[in-house]
């Protein structure tokens, strides 16, 4: 095996091993052989918490709308929905999961979530409103 082939073989092996570990950490996969299951569990919990907190930062409306339910609902969601893209897409997918019945939710919170997911389109402005705005200089 020449040097290029050796690095390429090492890449494939590394890809396989990292995917196995990450699947165990974020997608409910088995703990790969040789790892300490307690360490894997601790890291897995840490990753889910970090994802919950980062999503709350990126979409602060969600913890506001869901209140104390935000955290537990998000961790339930994360257990079965590994992250594959950015945090904004993740926040929306989480909101859709909750809205679609992923977890128990009071009716008023469900309505608020519905509005967050599908904001009502702005009503077209009539001639009077446009005139008033023009007079105010906007």
């Amino acid at each position: 095996m020449n040097d290029l082939e050796a690095v390429s073989a090492a890449r494939e092996k590394l890809a396989r091993r990292q995917e196995e570990l990450l699947t165990a950490l974020v997608a409910g996969g088995p703990v790969p052989p040789g790892f300490d299951p307690d360490q894997v569990r601790a890291q897995s919990t840490g990753l889910a918490a970090k994802r919950r907190d980062t999503t709350a930062k990126v979409a602060p409306d969600l913890p506001r709308l869901l209140g104390a339910q935000y955290g537990p609902l998000f961790l339930d969601y994360a257990r079965t929905h590994p992250q594959t893209g950015g945090y904004r897409a993740d926040a929306r997918a989480f909101a859709e999961w909750v809205h679609g019945g992923g977890g128990p939710l009071a009716a008023d919170r469900r309505r608020a979530l519905e509005q967050w997911l599908h904001p009502a389109p702005e009503r077209p402005t009539g001639p009077l409103t446009r005139l008033r705005r023009a007079l105010r200089g906007r």
Partner: protein, 284 residues
């Protein structure tokens, strides 16, 4: 683009003197601007767009405060070749900010289409060393300024490691000329969670390649150290900083605070505590 300094692997030209700095975060932009005696700031590279830089960073730069982009999403320890688009973005940010260097981590952050959302340790084997050294060289070729790699806080270890993290970073420095960003809070984290001795790790690191040092707070929960960057800096972390300063005078030290922001005076107090460690140390 390759900077002349990186043409010779293993060469370690004098590092830029940075001084004492604080992590710039949008939530505390004015607090950072008003910190007395602040020499430099670090920004999370992924949170910036080179075309729309926050005014606060312009204010700081006009005052002569150096800004260093710190990447968290490249995943240079991953099995995939570094993503040219991500590298381009990091390069653009460094140019827009006139930064003397950029930094990333010895970590992988994605695999098989899954995102970890955080930094995960790499298996430290001879095999993975070849892959990661190649990744680092590719990144260096695309970046307009030197790159430094940071040691991470881990909660798990791979079963077949052939190197400690310090030894692995030393190999990468020797093979690629990459610089080092040493996080003393991460060394403390690995001491508590994995039983790794920070002093022994510092002895294994080629500290002549040191670009700067990270300091951060965390908290102990059920015997596990959480490197939260949301708690005050503790004495054991400052002790590791003192251990490092006994070996080398660091070109820069930066305090990272990412959440649960304290009053400005508390951050100033933590920066002063760092300055006291620096002033009270003489490399032996």
């Amino acid at each position: 683009m390759t900077s002349p300094a990186l043409d010779l692997p293993g060469s370690a030209p004098a590092a830029t003197r940075l001084g004492v700095g604080l992590g710039w975060r949008a939530e505390i932009d004015t607090v950072v601007e008003r910190q007395p005696g602040l020499d430099w700031v670090e920004v999370v590279a992924e949170n910036l767009c080179a075309d729309h830089l926050p005014d606060s960073l312009a204010v700081l730069r006009e005052r002569g405060v150096t800004v260093v982009p710190h990447g968290v999403g490249l995943g240079l320890g991953g099995a995939e070749l570094p993503d040219p688009a991500r590298l381009d973005r990091l390069a653009g940010t460094a140019l827009a900010l006139g930064s003397p260097l950029v930094t990333e981590h010895l970590a992988f952050v994605r695999a098989g289409g899954l995102e970890a959302g955080h930094l995960l340790p790499v298996p430290r084997t001879r095999d993975s060393l070849r892959v990661i050294a190649e990744n680092v060289r590719i990144a260096q070729d695309q970046l307009p300024v030197p790159l430094a790699l940071e040691n991470i806080a881990a909660q798990l270890s791979w079963p077949d490691d052939e190197f400690t993290e310090g030894e692995f970073l030393a190999e990468l420095v020797a093979r690629t000329g990459v610089r080092l960003l040493i996080d003393v809070a991460n060394l403390h984290t690995n001491r508590v969670n994995l039983g790794v001795d920070p002093a022994a790790e510092l002895d294994r690191l080629p500290l002549e390649a040191l670009a700067y040092v990270h300091v951060a707070g965390g908290t102990l929960v059920d015997g596990v150290w959480h490197d939260t960057h949301a708690h005050p800096v503790t004495e054991p972390v400052l002790d590791v900083l003192a251990e490092l300063c006994a070996r080398v005078a660091p070109p820069g030290v930066l305090l990272e605070r990412d959440a649960a922001f304290p009053p400005p005076t508390e951050l100033a107090g933590e920066l002063d505590a760092i300055r006291r460690v620096l002033e009270g140390s003489t490399p032996r």
